[in-house]
């Protein structure tokens, strides 16, 4: 059976300077942070990042001067504020951007994945965004009803990096919780890199076949990266490391060089030891255990 497993350190051979990179995850969930850190270590330059709802993944790449362009529908640290480097770099004119409507961006990725140059939908009528990007949004009339629809153009990333719960060596990748637009990114991209909490054997995949969202034939490389979404979540493996998100924001306020230097001077295993912490790991997993469902009888 094909074996696509490589080490995180080999990421640099799979992502080139200048590539258009789709980064998975959404909100605070499941961004491929171990891969992002590796891109920072590799000092990748001039990347275009594509994100639906980005977070510290995008912000860290901006801080590290790895991006020339960001395509997004939202980038936010939610309760922890606006994404600081996202603001700084765009406001200073140092990075160009394409702000898309969420559905336009998602359906653009979908279009590429299903082999059509565009898809129509009942679009964001009245929004000022489409007018800024005539190469991405157009109008199209239904040939049957005459209804005017929004057309969104197919978007093809050079590479998609998404973080899964587990994958087998062939690349069959599974999610249990949030998968966001990971599947659409993988289907749209020229090359697909799966990072995952755990590489498992095929039998484990078969036993949970309903959780396989990206089948192996799409996948070029499988990378085991435990806590690979940290400090973001990967449900059900761990909850949000809000404390380290706060540290991130605080480090930004103090100038960010120390934060970057630390990441560049260590391996991902070092990062896990230093930032996640052996003693903290079980508690971060416990954040999932303590999460509560309510029933009307609780009331």
């Amino acid at each position: 059976m094909a074996n696509k497993v490589v080490e995180l350190e080999e990421l640099g051979t799979l992502v080139a300077d200048g590539d258009r990179v789709a980064l998975g995850g959404g909100w605070f969930a499941n961004h491929p942070m171990a891969a992002v850190r590796q891109l920072v270590r590799d000092q990748r330059r001039d990347l275009e990042a594509i994100t639906i709802v980005g977070s510290v993944d995008i912000d860290l790449l901006l801080a590290a001067d790895s991006l020339r362009h960001v395509t997004f529908s939202m980038v936010t640290l939610e309760a922890f504020g606006l994404a600081p480097h996202f603001r700084q770099k765009i406001e200073a004119g140092e990075v160009s951007f394409t702000e898309m409507t969420g559905l336009g961006l998602l359906i653009g990725l979908e279009a590429q994945g299903r082999g059509v140059p565009f898809l129509p939908y009942r679009g964001p009528f009245g929004s000022d965004l489409p007018g800024h990007y005539p190469d991405q949004y157009a109008e199209v009339d239904c040939p049957f009803t005459g209804e005017r629809l929004t057309a969104t153009r197919a978007i093809q990333p050079d590479v998609a990096i998404v973080h899964a719960l587990r994958a087998d060596p062939e690349g069959n990748a599974q999610w249990d919780g949030t998968s966001a637009a990971d599947v659409e990114m993988a289907k749209a991209a020229e090359r697909v890199i799966i990072t995952c909490e755990e590489v498992v054997d095929r039998d484990t995949i078969v036993a949970n076949a309903h959780m396989t969202k990206v089948p192996g034939y799409y996948v070029d490389a499988v990378i085991e990266a435990p806590f690979g979404a940290h400090p973001c979540t990967h449900v059900p493996a761990y909850g949000l490391d809000a404390w380290r998100i706060k540290d991130y924001v605080a480090a930004t306020a103090e100038g960010f060089d120390g934060y970057l230097d630390a990441i560049r001077g260590e391996t991902e295993a070092d990062y896990r030891k230093r930032v996640v912490g052996e003693d903290r790991m079980p508690v971060l997993r416990g954040l999932v255990d303590q999460a509560r469902v309510l029933t009307p009888t609780d009331g």
Partner: protein, 284 residues
Amino acid sequence: MSDYEVHELMVCRVAREVDESGVVVMGSFTPLAYAAYMLAKLTHAPDAYLAGFDAVGMAPVQLSFTGVEAAAYKGAACRWGMLTEINSIHLSNNGGVEAVSSAQFDGDAAINLSTIGPFEEPKVRLPGGAGAAEVIKMYRKMVAYFGSHNPRTLVEKVPFVTGTRWKIGDESREAAGLLPGPVVVVTNLAVLIRDEDERPFRIESLHPGVTAETVVEQTGFELEVPDDIPETTAPTDDELRLLREQIDPHGTVAFDFMPGKERMAYLDRILDAEWSAAERAIGR
């Protein structure tokens, strides 16, 4: 009647818009909106169909910054991804109620989440609208909520339209293939509503102690002021108990209402409580 805080009044008022028709989708963890949906599902709308993150058909959950996503999946009937959600809910007219907040909002129910200053050279680059541009247009009801009702937020015309309701009146909405329904604005001062193309927002109710004059003064767009404006219905004891004891015991909703200086210390207290709960869960 118990004492309550204004964010609790707002949660309860937003909850009243939630019914059992259509799906309610929660994106980012926005505590006030989440609390309102949970409250509705635990009280008058047990059959409300909720989707949060990629959990579809959610049970109501307790709010927390670090575990709310995990909770969403625990009682959910179905797993999807973003694409299936947008096609099966938003775009297929299965959206019920969407509660959004934005940097700016205007009298045509347009929102700005993109920029302060020129779009290409922003003074403040805002986070962007995610799916809001499409969602607020498609859903049956749009609820906009603002913790601080002032004329810099509620403006006459947003300088940049990230998204808009598109059509307001039921008839023009239906003619455009959209579900008919109102736009309801819930703020720290009042409730505003608009449901006709040719009439502006009107004040539906005033929170206790707030005058119509204050609301007009603090609103950048035209308002219709009825002669007789009721007071916003107060939360019931049952609602307050559910909110405080079950839905939001750590107080995530109040966080958005904290003044700048107190925010970080307040957040630390919430996070301490969540850490302790996790430690207990793993038997430390």
